[in-house]
Amino acid sequence: MKIKVFPREYAGGPFNALVLLLSLLAGLVAVGVVFALKEINPFFAIFSIFKGSFGSWFGIKETITKAIPLILIGAGLALAYRAKFWNIGAESQLLLGAIFATWVGLNWGPSLPGWAAYLLMFLAGFIGGALWGMIPAVLKIHFGINEVISTLMLNYIAAEIVKFLVVGPWKGETKYGYPYTDDLPDQAILWLFPYSRVSPLLVVLTVFVALFLCYLVFRSRFGYEIRVIGENAEAARYAGIDFFKTLLLVMAISGGVAGLAGVGELAAIHHHLSYPETISAGYGFTAIIVAWLGRLNPAYTILSGLFFAGIVVGGDAIQMTMGLPAATVQVFNGLILTFLIMGDFFVHHRVTIQREA
């Protein structure tokens, strides 16, 4: 018996969806095996995860809270990945957004009305993330530096900058020596639904960003150029598309929306800048899977973002109730991403088994 692999001509929508579903299922089975090895009933564990995240009002509110940064970042990453620009640095772009917004909030916030404070903070956050995102684009185009390396390394630099700020020049006077900045003034803090950490403004912004980026990718000239660059860079050159301008803009947007996520975390949840691990619980990395599960369609990241937020929340819940190690959620995420990427192989290839004559 021989297994032969051929490139697949064309995979339709239903087939794509089927592969996606089966990959997810296979991922869940693999996760189940991990649970079983820990002598926990896998069905019960996986059921508990989704019960923890979607099974109660509290769970749903927490899931939405965590979905917001995942969707914002994931939608931006989808844009970058469409151009085959492998941005692994959303974590740092988020942090830069938070830094810029903190400065605006602390310095200008007290003298501004609420709406103006929000607006300027989001604007500053977008600019912070965008500038940070544009660095690897410039490095890549002018010096040929691989963006995977540069974006990854910029994560460490950004994290150190945040640490430096919160223990150094920006250390809060009212924080009893803790490594925090002072709290933002009240008018710069986002209004939340009662008894939750969900800001309606952020929800609206997130959905808008995801849909807008979807429009950008599939309906705008810029999106067309992004897809041509990503699918065939040689043809893009031939077609006279300006790589520098396009990729710079792609990374400005991808980094910028990650910066918005940073503003959201800051203004809705933490209210001050603190250690980088506190500001972002690895959202920049989890969002890579969100973008991928969303088939690099920014609109679909709304669904995949909610799904992964659910895993994070439910994972936290069972960590506590079942006494599992803190890495459980990461194992979960990693396994699912692995299976999703393996699933892609079947979208692009046909596998047939031939019996030898």
């Binding site: 001509e9 309906r219 150029e225 897809r227 041509v228 050159r237 031939y238």
Partner: protein, 509 residues
Amino acid sequence: MRSIEQLEMRGIHKSFVGVQANRDVNLSIGAGDILGLLGENGAGKTTLMNILYGLYRPDEGEIFVNGEEVVIRNPRDSMRAGIGMIHQHFMLVQKHTVLENVGLGYEKAPFFFPLREVRKRIEAEADRLGLHVDPDKQIWELSAGEQQRVEILKALLHDADLLIMDEPTSVLTPQEADGLFDILRAMSREGHSVILISHKLEEIKAICNRVLVLRKGTVTGEAQIEDVTMADLARMMVGREIADSYPKADLPEGEAVLEVRNLNVQSDQAVPAVQDLNLTVRRNEIFGIAGVSGNGQRELVEAISGLRHVESGAVHLNGEKITNRTARTINDSGLTHVPEERIKFGIVPNLFLYENAVLKKHHRNPFSIRMRMNYPRVKKHAETLVHDFNVDAASIGVPMKNLSGGNIQKMILGREISAEPDLLIAAHPTYGLDVGAAEYIRKQLIERRDTGGSVLLVSEDLEELFQVCDRIAVMYEGRFMGIVPPAATTIEQVGLMMAGCPAGECDED
């Protein structure tokens, strides 16, 4: 060391999807022979040698060494039989020394201090054949000629008795080429045999003692070198009956559309690829550029269309200077381009047909209005192209990669022609297409000429150039060997120019 007294390939057939690359080819070579394997690109030379080196297996045919049949399944078998191959692009580890590169895979070295043995052998070969190269230098420090010597050393240390060299002088300076020939002669004296793949007639005349000519996969000539003239070789290489020209409208000479003056362009390796070139393409004219590929045609086309930097000289389109403008600006000012390697450059395989239908003019009204793509209009345009240019596709909503080569090319041509350019550049537009599609495309080029456009046609297919062009320039190593009217020229004359003889100089050889 076993030596190859006589090697024979008998009745070799090899076909790839739809293309017969070798048809009933016989080749024989004896000890001390330097055999020239001559032919245009695509004649099947490299395929034949890849079979001998074990990279491909023939569909039919056998290989005999000293009268005994050998089966060559892979390069290892081939090396064991005493055959070595040196590719056009060297397979060396740049950051390692000559010694380390030659020692790589050298199986007979002792376990301890293996390089000492390798060094001894390198020195021995250097004395024997004049193959001098510093064993302690790293590869990146060496010139192309020296790197080639390292490759030869490598093959010799693997006991190669028969050496296949694929276009060995294409990367060398003339002085280095002379050095290589000295080495080859020394090898021949020592009883090694060499197969030299080339399309340069002078070279074959200068170094080989026998020659085998291929055309379209079959042997069209075999001779002792002293029995043939360069004109004979050119005829064997390109000669064929030319079918009648396509009918063309009789039009007066138009004004100059494209003017290129003293153009100099570099290749990717930063060596001069186009040198002091002048050309003028007029309205109502198809200007052909003939030549074996790799003689600067690609760089010329890229420089004109804005895809490659012009070192010096000027390009004018309709009297306006377009030198070193961006590809988009040049395209917008009336030049469109059917690129060679259509799938690599001309389309985006994973995007839909209709998205590909506006590539390069997607930024213009009505296909995009401000920043928004006008997809209804784009789709309508795609429908028109599919209809007008007989593109066979299930719908305009299929990914471009689902189309066949001929239909992809019709789409590209349609896209470029429908913009009604002043100048259409078509690079190898019919390469690899079936007869019907090729004919259709040629007719479209003539149609463009007859309706007030001008065409710059780059092709390796002489028949095609003779059938459609008003003038043909023959390009060789970045220069034109001559610009001739096809009606008053024979295909042999063009063949000689393709091999590096300026017009009218080598006819008597």
